[in-house]
């Protein structure tokens, strides 16, 4: 005869209501874990997307994500000729705001050379860029559809393809365009500002053929570190391997946000532990007379401990399950990507089990201190 189950069944509505409250707390904890993962995944996605082995950037910078980097467009040819380099492509990154369907869209515009590294790896719908100008492949989160037209700078671009989950560390969805279009977009200013600059004679000597970085894929037999060392011999260029680039992103770009969310997650878990402990303690205190009766009729301590711990674990696990279901149902409605891995849910389940057992301690202590004599008398 399972007393914990019978007691829960007797007070089912109240128990489920408590579970529901706890599940909302669990959903928030899981959401925070998902947002944390999403932040890291987004940051890494953008750097992993080109499937590069080597990033050639401006010397003395940690570009193009952590710092601004500007190198001549001709760098690509020089890098492509290096021993060990299989292929290379120029790339630019810029954040642009554009109007579309009455809304302002914030886009992370990636300029790449079609047919060279740097473009979208997988097209979810439509096709890649085939024309030299004015075609665009956008992330689904932009809300753009194939066939839509959007004005970037002074030019209108046609959406020809859609990709998924490509965005920068700030959560801005990506839009791929041809490198030449991206370079034009970079040099375009609002017409009045352009006129002022021209009148001043500024920018006349400045080349517009600049890129943020050149990415290179290395032959399987070559060592990226050796190629990077060769590139660094050109004093105006720096080189980062893919691993270094990822490390820079995690270590600097998302580090503060990561720690902030991590701290908040810690606070949430502490609050959850306190809430579970209070619920279990209150449930136990309400049953003191029944526990005294059980002791008086000869129930061993393990029966009483089992009653409390089993209810505590049931509360935690049902709360966790409801919370997980809830977050899986609503995670796609979050403005930032929520990435929940099975290992995260399993780790939280493990933490909840530990918290429930620890939280039962207060209730168990109170129950074991109950004098069976309190069952006698009114």
């Amino acid at each position: 005869m399972n007393l914990a189950y019978r007691d829960v069944r007797h007070n089912l509505f109240r128990f489920l209501l408590t579970c529901l409250g706890l599940s909302l707390l669990m959903a928030v904890v899981l959401a925070m874990i998902g947002i944390y993962n999403g932040l890291v995944a987004d940051a890494l996605n953008i750097v992993k997307a080109p499937q590069a082995d080597l990033w050639v950037v401006e010397a003395g910078t940690q570009g193009p994500f952590a710092e601004a980097s500007k190198i001549p467009g001709s760098t690509r040819d020089a890098v492509a000729r290096l021993h060990g380099v299989a292929e290379a492509g120029s790339i630019t990154y810029q954040t642009v705001e554009a109007d579309h369907a009455g809304d302002t869209l914030r886009l992370y515009v990636i300029g790449f050379e079609p047919g060279r590294p740097g473009g979208p790896q997988t097209i979810a719908r439509g096709r890649g860029i085939t024309q030299t100008h004015f075609e665009l492949v956008a992330d689904r989160k932009t809300g753009l559809s194939i066939g839509d037209r959007i004005r970037l700078g002074r030019d209108s671009f046609a959406v020809v393809g859609l990709v998924e989950d490509v965005m920068n560390s700030a959560g801005d969805p990506a839009a791929f365009i041809a490198l030449s279009d991206a370079q034009t977009l970079q040099s375009q200013l609002a017409p009045p500002a352009q006129r002022v600059q021209t009148a001043r004679g500024a920018g006349l000597l400045e080349s517009t053929d600049t890129v943020a970085a050149v990415i290179a894929r290395i032959e399987p037999t070559a060592d990226p570190q050796d190629v990077a060392q060769t590139v660094r011999q050109w004093k105006h260029l720096g080189a980062l391997t893919q691993a270094q680039q990822e490390q820079i992103l995690i270590g600097s770009v998302v580090d503060r946000a990561k720690r902030q969310i991590g701290l908040f997650l810690g606070i949430l878990l502490t609050v959850s532990a306190v809430v579970i402990a209070l619920i279990i303690y209150t449930m136990t205190m309400e049953k003191l007379k029944q526990i005294a009766t059980l002791k008086l009729i000869g129930a061993p301590d393990r029966t009483i401990i089992g009653l409390i711990v089993q209810q505590s674990l049931a509360l935690g696990m049902i709360g966790w399950s409801f919370g997980l279901i809830l977050i899986l149902l609503i995670k796609d409605y979050f403005p930032r990507r929520v990435v929940l891995e099975p290992v995260n849910a399993a780790a939280l389940a493990g933490i909840i089990v530990v918290v429930c057992i620890a939280a039962s301690g207060l209730g168990v202590r109170a129950a074991l201190k109950v004098d069976p004599a309190t069952a006698i008398g009114g």
Binding site: M1, L3, R6, K295, G298, P300, A373, A375, I376, G377
Partner: protein, 236 residues
Amino acid sequence: MDPLREPLVEIAGVSKHFGAGATRVDALRNIDLTVRQGEVVALLGPSGSGKTTLLNVIGCIIAPTEGRVTLDGELVFNDHWLRGDLRRLRLDKIGFIFQFHNLLPFLNARDNVALVLTLAGEPAAVAQARAAELLDYLEVGHRAAAMPALLSGGEAQRVAIARALANRPRIILADEPTAALDSKRAGIVMDLMRKLAAEHDACIVAVTHDEKIYDRFDRLFHLRDGILESQKEKET
């Protein structure tokens, strides 16, 4: 009192005090008392006279400060008795009947009775069958599936008696067993308890203030300020 009958409760020179120094309270002072098989006895006295303390000592809930307590031939509260042993003794040899029934609200009538048997290690099927048999015997078998909140006072007390008898205890301790019942039902319950004590070769020790049922007891023990003042045998 028939001296040939087996003594089930033997209290010899039992004293119990709480606190020390100026705050010391002598709850029981040098109590001698014997209850034999088949006997139904009452502990009487005003509030604070030590009735409940004596019931707790007999029920192995609190240990006496001095004196010897022998239950069904076993000398308890010796140094070798552990808390778990006393719990087991309560489970095997003592049945409790409470003033407010103290049925577990989340178990139905049959499961309340069967629980005691399950705790004693009986298989679930045996426990359920014995519980059903006891409830039938106490004429509440038709309410076996009812939750305690849906039972009348008389029905609940019968279920509580069934629970107290489930393990065939030799000693039944009752705390104000008829306080929540009207005089007619109180008489029925007392008659039933007497009958069951006789059938089970058990004894019953009850604390009561209910004068209407004094004639249902074989002996009445009067306590005052922790002292056993007098005992009165039933006139036959």
